[in-house]
Structure formats: structure tokens, C-alpha cells
Amino acid sequence: MLARAITHALVGLEARRVEVEAHLQRGVPAFAIVGLPDKACQEAKERVRSGIASAELEWPLRRITVNLAPAGLRKEGSGYDLPIALAVLAASQQIPPERLAEHAAVGELALDGRVRPVPGIIVAAEAARRAGLVRLLCPHESAPEAALAGVEPVPLRHLAEAGAYLRGRFQPDAVEPAKSVANGGGLDLADVRGQERARRALEIVAAGRHNVLLAGPPGTGKTMLSRRLPGILPPLTLDQALEATRIHSVAGVLPAGRPLVDRPPFRAPHHTASAASVVGGGPGPRPGEVSLAHHGVLLLDEMPEFHRPVLEALRQPLEDGVVSIARVAGQALFPARFVLVGTMNLCPCGARGDPAVECTCTPQKLAAYGGKLSRALVDRFDLVVHMPRPRGVELDMRPGEASRVVRARVVPAAQQLGRKRPRLAADARALLTRAVDTLPLSARGRARVARVAATVAALAAEEEIAPAHVAEALSYRAPRELVS
């Protein structure tokens, strides 16, 4: 007896159709899975056997062979449990095989037969829809996520429900897809007192999607400010939200109960993170932090503490907005367009720039610290903002502007930049040229300043970049210590 279930294998952000064939033969009872299953997939045997027993269905005492076709594609993870179980049940005539063939299926089984969520449901659902399979048997928790892809999810809590549904004796709940993006929410800029300069810089960063390096002694609010950047970014469009959701789903980091990534994501990997975890990688490539931050913010706190290879690996995504990971089996492309926020102290001990304590760093240590960020990487930061230690009076001040107010300025500016970038007026160009002659400013630095000046002009709703805009932009240039 032979039966088939349809499921999908994840390859990067793509899903490939996989047919799960179950064949029952006479002979000594046995159970084998072939077709390049990885360890997790191989172990499906035990979960499927227990799951079927727990669902009070019958485990066929036959020689069972399950083939995952195409056999040459690596199958990873536990999402094959449900389709394998269903194929076995169909092959032993416990559910109608022709009904099963109208569905795609994905999900992990618990030993007691419950259906558990797995990563990448939205991607699998989209592939199913493209192949004309509109109904997807999936874990109950993942049903809203599957619904985003435009399929009709069949939410399952238990393998027994799957059996009953396919026999026509159970009608699962209808699922409504979440189709709107949120506006705001999260941490508010009003919590930040003082730090007018850094707040202003953050506004420019949000409007122009510039990368920014915040430098200052510990405890001046560098991290606190960065965490509030997503809240003033323009809200995501639905397409952007879906794109981010795909990445988060494949990485398995979608929070339960929030199927759609509806706000600009914020990621802050720790400085001990490996290059593979930051830019993506692994045998079946998984998206890294840079891709999880797609359309949002990537914060690298204490940037010079990151391993050098990690920082250097950031250069491709910063340049191209995409990470390509080559594997023997092919290439995976992960989008990675994010605003990079780096923070650093002014010296290894952290005391520099703080009038209250004396820095104990030796000149060698100081030079080594600055040297940890390569010139090429520093070149990716359009703005460098020093954050001095706020004095007591500053902390007693009233709360700052709320994120809502700032965002109301950011959104039109971002729209203007998208339509038509402001051009340099003649006198502004002259000022820029004078700055290149007077200050240590490279040609690349000049281009960065011009970019920031365009954003400043857009925030002022001007069509042309005035000298004042260039002058402000110049004040965010990288200091000599970092570029020489």
C-alpha cells in the first residue's frame, strides 16, 4: 500500500515541495525513513509512533518505508512529523488518501499526539498556495501565521483532530489573518531626559535611514536611546511586514500570539555573538541577526568588543542590503536592510569623556581600541554622535518629546526623500568644499555629509539643501581619531 502527503522543506527563505511517501509491505514490522533526513527528522520515527498510538489510531504492524522526495534535498527539523504520520495513516487506510492529497501539512508531534509549531510556516504556506493547495494542515498556534499567506489553514491541536477532519467528522475553527500593521507602541522617547543632540541625531537617522555610531562613557543613555529608534521609524508597509515575518518565522523567533511582525524589528546581538549568528549561516542556512533586523534596527552595543570577523562580515549586508550564503546545495539569499546603530565608549576603561572619573588607559590600549573598528566599517556610519555624561540638572528636567511627535516629523521627511532628494544649493556646495579644505574630511566623508544634509533639509521640508543644513550635517562627521 502506498500513500502520499505533501509538505515543504525550507531552503533559506524559500520552501520546496516535498512528497512524503509511505509504503507498507508484508514482512517483519519495521520503520525506516529515507530521503536525506537530518537527525531531528530521523527521530520523527519515535514521535510518529507514539503520536499515532496516543491518538488512539492504529500503528500498522508492517514493514513501513517513508521516502521524502526529492531524495537529494536535505530535510531538516521536526516539521515532517505530521505529514509522515498522515502518510502512514493514509497508507493503512485509516484516513482517505485522496482527501490527504488535497492538503499540504506541516507540524511537529508530541509523544501524546499534540501538534506543535515549527519554524517557517508562512513560507511553507505561501509555497502551498502557489502550488494550488489552498488548505494547509498546521499547528493551531501557527494558523494565523499561515493565514497571512492567503491559504486556508486547518488549525490542529492534536493528531486525532487531523484524522477526524480528514474523515469528515471534525470542523476546525476558522482563522482570520492579521492584516494591519501597528503604528507606534514600544518604548517611548519621552523617557529620555536631556540629550538634545542625540535625540536630534536620532530623528535624522530615522528620516534618512542613516547608520549612526554613538560614542560616550557608560551610562549616558546610548543603549536607551537606540532602543527607542524603532518607535520613530516610519511604520512598515504590509509588504515589508510580511517580508520581515517570513524571516522571523524561518528563524523560529516569531513570538506566540503575534503572527505578523508589524513594527520595525529591533535586534541587539550580544558582543560575543559569532559571525554565523549575526550574518546568517549554518548547514541549512538560517537568517542571522542582520536579516532579523530587516526593515528595522540592528544595535551593536559596545561595538569594539565584537569579534573582528563579525564586524567585517557586516560589510556585505551594509553595502548590498542582502546576505548571500553559498552552500554546496545552492545559495541562500536573505534580505538585510537595516539601520545600524553602533555604540562605543571613548576608551577601553570607559572613563574618557566623563569629568567625574580619570581614565586609566595606556596610550597603546587607547590606540588599539580605536583600531578595532576598521576604516571601512567606520565609513559606513553617516553620523557619529558623542554623548557626554548628562549633568544632574539635565536628569531633573521634564520628559522629552514623545516618539509620536517625533515620528510625525520623520514620516513626511522620509516620504520626501523617497520622492525627490533635496539638491545642494550653490552656497551650500561652497561650504562643503571649504569644509573639505579645512577639516580632515575625505571624499567619502564629503558624500556622507551631503547625504545627511539632504535628510536635514527634508526634515525642514526644504527642496534645496541650505548652508545651515550642511553645517549641521558636518557636526556629525566622524572625528579624526576614528578615521586616521
Binding site: G194, Q195, E196, R197, R199, R200, A215, G216, L346, R352, G353, E358, C359, C361, T362, P363, Q364, L366, A367, G371, V385, H386, M387, P388, P390, R391, E394, L431, R434, A435, T438, L439, V456, A468, H469, A471, E472, L474, S475, Y476, P479
Partner: protein, 292 residues
């Protein structure tokens, strides 16, 4: 590769000969040996200098170089390097005296700086190629720095800084020693403040030293189009260094406006910025409004 050199018999700078143990031979890298005979001032100080020290060294060297004075220093990190950079920025000549073989760049990170110095100026050493840097050679190197210069300026020095050794050599030679006053609470100024107590001349502006040498400062023109806001900011900075946030609160400008004004002042050479803290540039007295 062979290096040019001057010996006691040929091309030796007369000022250097006044040392009681002048080096027999001085190896040279870079420009013509005649540079050694030009009027020179040594600018030396702490390797781990503060932003204040770095700024003073740079601006002082810049003003000296602009007035045609050769700036002598030791290629070390901190004040030394800033002095060399300041002189280069003014398009002037500068001499770096090494404490190792003439073919070495020490510290290695300053190899590029040494190359720029040698383009028009000089890198010199009493040691032949191949001599490794070692701690005891640096005090000996300092006697050459003092010997080549008509006057020595110490910009920031801790209590037992090598720069004080240079000052001692200069005193022995009967040359002028200047020190920049620093905060009495800062360990980085302990050495310079002690020099002042012992009778060194306080250096308050580059003119102080140019007067001693009988030279005139390169004319500096105050930009006439300085906005009222810029004047207000300049006045604030005369009371001491300020961050942008502090200026914003003191002047009722917004952050964007203050940033623009500060850039205007920086381009005019009236202020300098380090680590997010803005200071008035050295070399000019306080603005009139405060002086009265």
C-alpha cells in the same frame, strides 16, 4: 639603503653642538639637512594626553609652523604626534627625533606620520639602521630634541614624564622653557605646573614664544561675517569647554541650530572639538565682550 647624515665636521647644526655630549653623527631621512639649522621650537609632552593637551599641541604647532618655525618633537603618541600633525596641517616643516635606528618607525602606528614628516621635513636619529628601540635610548633622544630647538614647550606632563627630561636638557643649555598651565587637579598637568613653579615661562598663546624668538605670528583674520549667535556661543566657550547640550540650554538655540553655529566657528578656526566637547581655540585672547 643608505641614509644621509651630518657629522661634527660637515653640516652639523650649531645649536646641537652646544650639548655637552653631542651625537657624533646624525642620520637623516627626508628633506635637505639645512632644515636642521632653521629656527626651531620643540613641542613635547605626555603620550596619554587629554583632549585639551592634544588641542593645545596641535594648534600651537600649527601657529609656529605658519610663522615659519620648525617644530621638533619625538614622534611618540599623544602630544608629540599632535605637534607633528599640527605643523603638517599648516604646511610647515617639522623634525621627528627617533630613539631607535633611523630605518625604524617607532611606534609602528606612526609609520605613515613619519612618512609624511619626511616628505618635506626630517626624521633624524643618532642611531644607525637596525638599532631596536629600548627604554634607555629615549632620554638620550630627548637631549637631541632640546638641542635642536631654540626653545622647548612642554604641553601636559605627568610628574615623572620624559618631557621633563627634555625640559631639563633645554635648561642646561640655557634655552627658554615654556609650559602650558593646566588644572591643578589633573595628574596630567602635575609635571607642567611644577615646571611653572620652578620658573618656566607660562605659555598662554603662540605669540608668547614667537616674541621670544623675535618672530611675528602669521596674520590671522577674524572672519567678519560672524553671526550674533556665533558670537554668543564663542562667549559661552570662553568660560570653559562645553558640550553641545550645555550650549543648547545656555543659549536657547535648538540642537540643529547650535550644531550649525559650532561648525561655522570650527571652520573659522575659532573653536575645536574633541570627544563631543567644544573648546575655544588657543592663540587668541578672550573675545572683547569678556575682556572688558
Amino acid at each position: 639603503m643608505t641614509y644621509a647624515s651630518v657629522t661634527r665636521r660637515r653640516g652639523y647644526p650649531p645649536l646641537l653642538a652646544e650639548l655637552h655630549d653631542p651625537p657624533a653623527r646624525l642620520y637623516l631621512r627626508g628633506g635637505p639637512p639645512e632644515i636642521l639649522a632653521l629656527p626651531a621650537v620643540a613641542v613635547v609632552g605626555a603620550r596619554s594626553c587629554s583632549p585639551y593637551g592634544a588641542q593645545v599641541a596641535r594648534e600651537l604647532a600649527q601657529a609656529l609652523a605658519a610663522a615659519g618655525v620648525v617644530v621638533v618633537s619625538g614622534l611618540a603618541r599623544g602630544v608629540d604626534a599632535e605637534a607633528h600633525r599640527g605643523a603638517l596641517a599648516a604646511g610647515g616643516l617639522t623634525i621627528a627625533v627617533l630613539g631607535c635606528g633611523i630605518d625604524r618607525d617607532y611606534p609602528r602606528a606612526h609609520a605613515e606620520l613619519a612618512r609624511r614628516i619626511a616628505q618635506d621635513g626630517l626624521v633624524v636619529s643618532e642611531y644607525p639602521p637596525g638599532v631596536e628601540p629600548s627604554p634607555w635610548r629615549f632620554p638620550a633622544r630627548n637631549r637631541i630634541i632640546a638641542g635642536l630647538a631654540r626653545a622647548t614647550v612642554v604641553v601636559e606632563a605627568r610628574e615623572r614624564s620624559g618631557a621633563l627630561i627634555t625640559a631639563d636638557f633645554a635648561l642646561e643649555l640655557g634655552r627658554d622653557v615654556f609650559a602650558t598651565p593646566g588644572e591643578i587637579t589633573s595628574a596630567l598637568s602635575a609635571g607642567t605646573n611644577d615646571l611653572l613653579r620652578q620658573g618656566a615661562t607660562p605659555l598662554l598663546s603662540p605669540e608668547d614664544i614667537l616674541e621670544t624668538l623675535g618672530l611675528e605670528a602669521a596674520p590671522q583674520t577674524l572672519p567678519d561675517g560672524l553671526s550674533p549667535k556665533a558670537r554668543a556661543v564663542l562667549e559661552r566657550l570662553s568660560d570653559g569647554a562645553r558640550t553641545l547640550d550645555e550650549l543648547v540650554r545656555a543659549t536657547e538655540m535648538d540642537s540643529a541650530g547650535a550644531a550649525a553655529v559650532l561648525t561655522e566657528l570650527e571652520l573659522a578656526g575659532l573653536i575645536a572639538v574633541a570627544d563631543g566637547v567644544y573648546r575655544r581655540a588657543t592663540g587668541r585672547g578672550p573675545p572683547k565682550a569678556v575682556r572688558s
